[in-house]
């Protein structure tokens, strides 16, 4: 199991990633594939909470009715150079107002974490080889930003200039 950063801290993962065959442990919080969720929610009734794993090729707008009630959406980075999930996260946060957890999964490594966070990810399932302390530091590589994005918790250059 990979180390999980949520917010700005390492936390024990309270979610269980399930494949499409494994039975749901009663009372567990589980992350299942979109296909499994679509093929039968009744079979997942034993779970306390159900989050969805979404391929980076899925159309967020089209799926939104399925996503809106979910407490967690896991977006995927099949490899670090494939940046589609950055856009998916912003669409979820900014255009649909999703306020559950958006978790980065797959090839999640240090040097992209801060950009992920700015696009609306708030949990990071780190690739197994990652140095956790380094990753926590990476969330503070930049102290300010030119762009507003899903999260505007960094000082924004535009706003600073407007205020000055």
């Amino acid at each position: 199991m990979s180390t999980l950063i949520r917010g700005n801290a390492v936390v024990a993962d309270d979610w269980l990633e399930l494949d499409d065959e494994t039975a749901v442990p009663s009372g567990a919080s589980v992350i299942v594939s979109l296909a499994r969720w679509q093929s039968g929610r009744e079979a997942l009734a034993a779970a306390a909470r159900v989050g969805l794993r979404l391929p980076n090729t899925e159309d967020i707008d089209a799926l939104w009715p399925l996503l809106r009630e979910r407490p967690l959406i896991a977006l995927q980075f099949p490899k670090s150079s494939d940046g589609r999930a950055f856009s998916q996260a912003r669409l979820l946060r900014e255009q649909h107002g999703f306020d559950g957890e958006i978790r980065a999964t797959g090839d999640v490594q240090r040097d992209q974490l801060q950009f992920m966070q700015r696009c609306g990810f708030d949990a990071f399932a780190l690739r197994a080889d990652q140095n956790v302390d380094d990753c926590l530091k990476a969330l503070r590589d930049f102290d300010l930003a030119y762009q507003h994005a899903a999260r505007a918790d960094l000082p924004l250059v535009w706003q600073l200039r407007r205020g000055s």
């Binding site: 150079s81 912003r90 300010l144 200039r161």
Partner: protein, 561 residues
């Protein structure tokens, strides 16, 4: 010159620290080769044939004297005493050592320079008209809009891992000198019928393997909506651009696959959702940006031009020959834009030594309000020279080997580094440039040929823009040998067009003679000295060129095949 504020400086400094740490982790073995590759590319660092190559950003080609002096210092301290200006108005160093690059970047940051996003699959350096602000055919100075776009695109959290590289060019003049139609996004500053300022947006142009001209997807975008519209385009591309094949990953391929109408529809739908949000610029944002650009303190026309310039032209024919080619009209009476040719015989096009850089910095301070510009034709411009000073400037340039009177002529050719330096290249280009220089050394002959753009790339990637050369040369590899394909009739200007292939390619020894034959045919076919090569080609077509270049039998064989 755009002057950084404290925020610009802080971001560049933070990137230096971040890159220093990335380099440290790579050298310590905790950051893998492939991962470091993606990160170093986003900071302009390639590993080339002999050594790393570092590409330094020169946003919209604008350089201060102080920055030029720093580039000279870097050439001396970290390189072999020279740098290479590229077709993206950037500067490349070919010999820095990997471990020293963080120090080099720290030096650069002290003069408000960096190598951020000069390569990698992200938004690259923004290019613009090298005569911006001084051209007499300009609607408005495009550079504040370029700087707005530079800042918006720098470390953009969503668009730093695109399917492929992404290039912007801006133009605000009647004559497009920025090749906007062959960029991923070309922005033209325009006014609508109500006289309001805004932009025409072209998308999907590009060179390389599948050369295409950009499509006009929005004739008029209001001035304050620049960022939201760009985000809409980039978002559609980031989500839908192909990632399965590097040769099909540019936005031009997506625009073509969807069709420009469907692509436009998607962009407009996305834009409608975000246009009235936080991305909307305030008019004062734009004003504030304009105010950070220095305005030269021009003197009145009579003081700038007391008549000595005309007398010097009359008295010195060598000066007059140079002035005829290397000066351009300035919007301010009494001033001219002076082109510094980086295409001297015996020098790789675009190369400058540390000594020349230092001297150019001095000349910029003395004669042109501390500023220089890099052009996408790989020359430099001192854009604001009083006519009184031009003769003295010319003498200095001549002493530095920087006064070749060939701007816009055949030997003012664009050329990538080719096989001599680049690990992507299939064939040499610098040697071919030299052969062409040797054959056309006579400037009277070149003047007679007139305005012509010869552009050469050592491989399909097309860094030398061969596809839009009036004459284009493309180096190809045929079973280990260097061969050269030739195209005719391309243009990157208002009449943008992609060149047509002449036929079978030429060997290394035949390519320069082939160019000579093409020129002969042009001189025979043109109706008057005023009819340019391009106009003549468009009138007479390929046939007479083909007939001269190939045996008839060969030409027919090629057509049949």
């Amino acid at each position: 010159m755009y002057r950084y504020d404290e925020y610009d400086q802080k971001l560049v400094d933070e990137r230096v620290a971040q890159f220093r740490d990335q380099t440290r982790r790579f050298l310590a073995g905790t950051l893998g080769e492939d991962e470091f590759r993606a990160l170093r590319l986003r900071n302009g660092l390639y590993v080339q044939r002999f050594a790393p190559m570092l590409r330094i950003a020169i946003p919209y080609g604008l350089l201060s004297a102080k920055q030029m002096r720093m580039l000279a210092h870097i050439a001396r301290k970290y390189d072999k005493g020279y740098g290479h200006f590229t077709t993206r108005q950037n500067l490349q160093f070919n010999w820095p050592k990997l471990a020293e690059v963080p120090d080099l970047l720290a030096d650069l940051a002290t003069v408000q320079m960096h190598a951020i996003q000069t390569s990698g699959n992200c938004i690259r350096n923004i290019t613009a008209d090298h005569l911006a602000g001084v051209a007499d055919d300009e609607l408005v100075d495009p550079r504040p809009y370029c700087e707005l776009t530079r800042q918006w695109s720098s470390f953009h959290p969503e668009f730093n891992w695109l399917p492929r590289k992404f290039k912007f060019a801006f133009s605000a003049s009647i004559n497009d000198r920025a090749a906007t139609r062959v960029h991923d996004i070309g922005v033209h500053l325009v006014k609508n019928e109500q006289g309001e300022l805004g932009y025409s947006i072209f998308v999907g142009g590009g060179l390389g393997r599948m050369p295409m001209l950009g499509h006009l997807i929005r004739p008029f975008l209001p001035e304050v909506d620049l960022f939201s519209y760009l985000e809409a385009i980039l978002r559609i591309y980031n989500l839908q651009g192909r990632r399965d094949n590097i040769h099909r990953a540019r936005i031009k391929v997506l625009v073509k696959a969807l069709g420009p109408e469907k692509f436009t529809e998607l962009v407009e739908a996305e834009w409608a959702k975000i246009k009235d949000g936080y991305l909307k610029l305030l008019p004062e944002d734009i004003e504030r940006m304009k105010a950070r650009f220095d305005v030269p303190a021009y003197v009145d026309a009579a003081s700038a031009d007391n008549g000595s310039f005309d007398a010097q032209l009359a008295a010195d024919s060598k000066f007059a020959a140079w002035a005829k080619r290397n000066l351009r009209t300035h919007v301010k009476p009494g001033y001219a834009a002076v082109f510094v040719s980086l295409k001297a015989n015996g020098v790789a096009p675009g190369d400058v030594t540390d000594r020349q850089m230092d001297a150019l910095a001095d000349l910029a301070e003395r004669f042109s309000f501390d500023e220089l510009r890099a052009t996408h034709d790989q020359n430099l411009v001192l854009a604001d020279v009083a006519k009184n000073d031009i003769y003295a400037l010319w003498q200095q340039l001549a002493g530095l080997g920087l006064a070749t009177p060939n701007i816009g002529l055949l030997t003012d050719l664009i050329c990538c580094p080719g096989l001599d330096f680049c690990s992507l290249a299939n064939a040499g280009s610098i040697g071919v440039a030299q052969d062409i220089f040797d054959r056309f050394e006579d400037f009277d002959y070149q003047h007679d040929i007139g305005d012509i753009k010869l552009k050469m790339s050592g491989c399909m990637n097309g860094c030398g823009h061969h596809t839009v050369g009036h004459i284009g040369i493309l180096g190809v590899d045929k079973s280990g040998e260097e061969w050269y394909q030739v195209t005719l009739g391309g243009s990157a200007e208002n009449d943008a067009a992609l060149g047509d292939r002449t036929g079978p390619s030429f060997s290394r020894s035949d390519i320069a003679p082939a160019i000579e034959k093409i020129i002969e045919v042009y001189l025979e076919q043109r109706e008057a000295a005023e009819e340019s090569f391009l106009a003549t080609y468009r009138r007479v077509g390929m046939a007479p060129f083909k007939a001269r270049l190939y045996d008839k039998a060969d030409a027919h064989a090629e057509e049949a095949a």
